[in-house]
Amino acid sequence: MPATLITNGRVIDPSQGIDRVTNLLVSDGRIAAYDATPTGQETVIDAAGKIVVPGLIDMHVHLREPGFEEDETIASGTAAALAGGFASIACIPNTDPPIDTQGAVEFIRDRAARADHCNVFVIACVSKNREGKELAEIGQLVEAGAVAFSDDGAPVSDSELMRRAFEYCLMFDKPVLNHAEIRELTSRGVMHEGLTSLILGLSGIPAAAEDVMTSRDIALAEATGGKLHIMHVSTANSVDALRRAKSRGVRVTAEATPHHFTLTDECLRSFDSNFKMNPPLRGREHVQAVIAGLADGTIDVIASDHAPHAKEKKMQELDQAPFGVIGLETSLAVVITELIEPGHLDWPTVLRKMTVNPARILGIPKGTLQLGADADITIIDPKARWTVDPSKFLSKSSNTPFAGRELTGRADLVMVGGRVKFQR
């Protein structure tokens, strides 16, 4: 494979504190040199005016296969990931059957290899069959390649099981990712409990349902020394609890989704099920708290919680439509438009949350442009203006809450292991 020289791009790599215009040389699928001069032998990619970053990572993606291929497949989901600028994703095990056996982990890795789009890392179930009753065979799942454990979609409600999960994962040094929700407080809930749900008469999902579970998980992680990652943080009190836990040295990390730091529960006034997800869109004060948590480092990761659902499932009465929205193909642009352009966060801070931070949490050798690292690279056009048109998505589903939005910035090119896998 000939070497590739990416010229004149602004290279930002938070893992090394790099932010400067340079020429980046890729050779043999690895990062080979900085400040390289062209020799005429390389394939040259002109990145003038562009931002060159470690291949982006989305650590919260529902690929739906096996079991829900009408919503997404491993092939379509990974194609959508590339189009969104992601060189690596981690997929969530709430499939049918759920990913709680070695065979299931191998199935996903095999399908991902055959699709040959982006890297796919497998998150496996905490509990057998995601039932929250007994631990899955975590040791064997680790051997098969699982990088983390989660029953996402369902919280681990049983505190004893959660405690055991933290303890047991200690010996594999793997994190437990939890969807923080006290189910007793959210039954039949459709949207955030607040003024808008009061007006619309829709059943509420109170912020306290997340706050209580976040605090419980923190207490259990603290007691066991286990690694906790709170998925899709959406409430002010959760952010606050995380901030205090981190200051005490608890091994806790957290992620936020683009929709939770941009949209509010008032979107539900349209009764559009593309605004229905769990955790739900919250009130303005929660959105601001999530942005503050991202800005001060309390929230480590930006992840999409890409949750595709076929149109026939979403086009139902609001209580019948499933929770979830897609995000792979809008995430980066929403981040640029809503976090960077208004000045909430700068480029290195944002990119840290989409590269090195998720890589460290998952313990994967990605998210860096260090010499010798896999040449996973995303080139971003920070100025491109475009309008979200769900019919153009590579995802099989179109359930985005950002349809029709004008956004700024998108990925122009994604390289995975030195090979250009996506080019606009």
Partner: protein, 322 residues
């Protein structure tokens, strides 16, 4: 003598809607227009006119996914008195039990050549979903706890008739505010027309956040009784409650049932409404429900008139464009 049809004239330009989904959407002028036209229909009916054929040739479907007798019959009667055809469609006898979706069911019905769908559904927003997906008109006859615009209209019309005005009155809605679409439609309509609204009931069913919309809230019926002009006693909607919001019906009735003792504490000319169906002995005792302050049966009469007005405004002849 002018006929009702002549008195009505063409549908005024002020009315531009194809749907009636929520009173929150309506202006005070639109609400007053509905009332004025409803009174034309009411007078004509009182004068013995059985048919006022101003929407002949139109077909209305009652698409009901929740039980109803009063509202469905009221809409059917209203449509027939206007000369329209009506078809009843209830979820239990439909293809829904064979797995057809709500929207597909509605589209199939519309394909039979329907001008208007009157829909009742247990999910807030279901009528909006239909309005987005069908070409015909849609009237919301109750969407879960969200709105029931014609019920709100008939309640407020009854107040206007009995009290001679709406602006400046203090109207208390008492009971299961949390689960009541009637409460929400009343709140919007009353506020737009300038009334002061109090929502009253147990703290598990009355959110303090109503204050953010300019609505007073109270947990004590006894405290507010002396200063209210109108009481609207709402049913406890046991079927919508996920967890029990109060310890017992006995305790609820003790705190909120409108009985003779409580009636003695009110203004002498208090008006008492109940949207029905009423639970006698829970929200209201029989002597009060059947007493001189009660307008419960007038509400039912007004219901037909209001629905005739709404159907006519949506389906009736408009003045030719000049």
């Amino acid at each position: 003598m002018v006929t009702a049809a002549e008195e009505l004239g063409p549908v005024p330009d002020l009315w531009k809607r194809r749907h009636l989904l929520a009173l929150e959407d309506l202006s005070a002028e639109e609400i007053s227009l509905i009332f004025d036209k409803a009174e034309v229909f009411k007078r004509a009916m009182a004068a013995g006119q059985r048919k006022i054929p101003v929407v002949t040739g139109k077909t209305c479907v009652n698409l009901f996914f929740e039980n109803s007798t009063r509202t469905r019959n009221s809409f059917s009667l209203a449509a027939r008195r206007l000369g329209a055809d009506t078809v009843d469609f209830s979820a239990s006898t439909s293809s829904l039990s064979k797995g057809e979706t709500f929207i597909d069911t509605a589209k199939n019905i519309e394909a039979m050549g329907i001008d208007l769908v009157v829909v009742r559904h247990h999910t807030p927003g279901a009528p909006q979903l239909l309005a987005q997906n069908l070409n015909c008109g849609v009237i919301n006859a109750g969407d879960g706890p969200h709105e029931h615009p014609t019920q709100g209209l008939l309640d407020i019309l009854t107040i206007r008739q009995r009290c001679g005005r709406v602006a400046g009155l203090t109207v208390a809605l008492v009971g299961d505010i949390a689960h009541s679409r009637t409460a929400r439609s009343n709140i919007w309509g009353l506020k737009k027309l300038g009334a002061h609204v109090i929502v009253c009931g147990p703290s598990t069913l009355v959110s303090p956040r109503w204050a953010e919309l300019g609505v007073e809230y109270s947990y004590s019926l006894d405290d507010i009784l002396p200063r209210v002009d109108v009481l609207n006693l709402l049913r406890i909607q046991f079927e919508r409650q996920t967890t029990r919001p109060f310890p017992s019906v006995r305790e609820y009735a003790h705190l909120y049932a409108m009985d003779r003792q409580r009636l003695a504490k009110t203004k002498p000319d208090i008006l008492i409404l109940a949207p029905g169906p009423i639970n006698r002995g829970v929200e209201v005792t029989p002597d009060v429900a059947d007493g001189p302050h009660s307008a419960i049966l007038e509400q039912v009469t007004n219901g037909v008139a209001v629905r005739m007005a709404v159907l006519w405004l949506i389906l009736g002849e408009r003045a030719p464009v000049k």
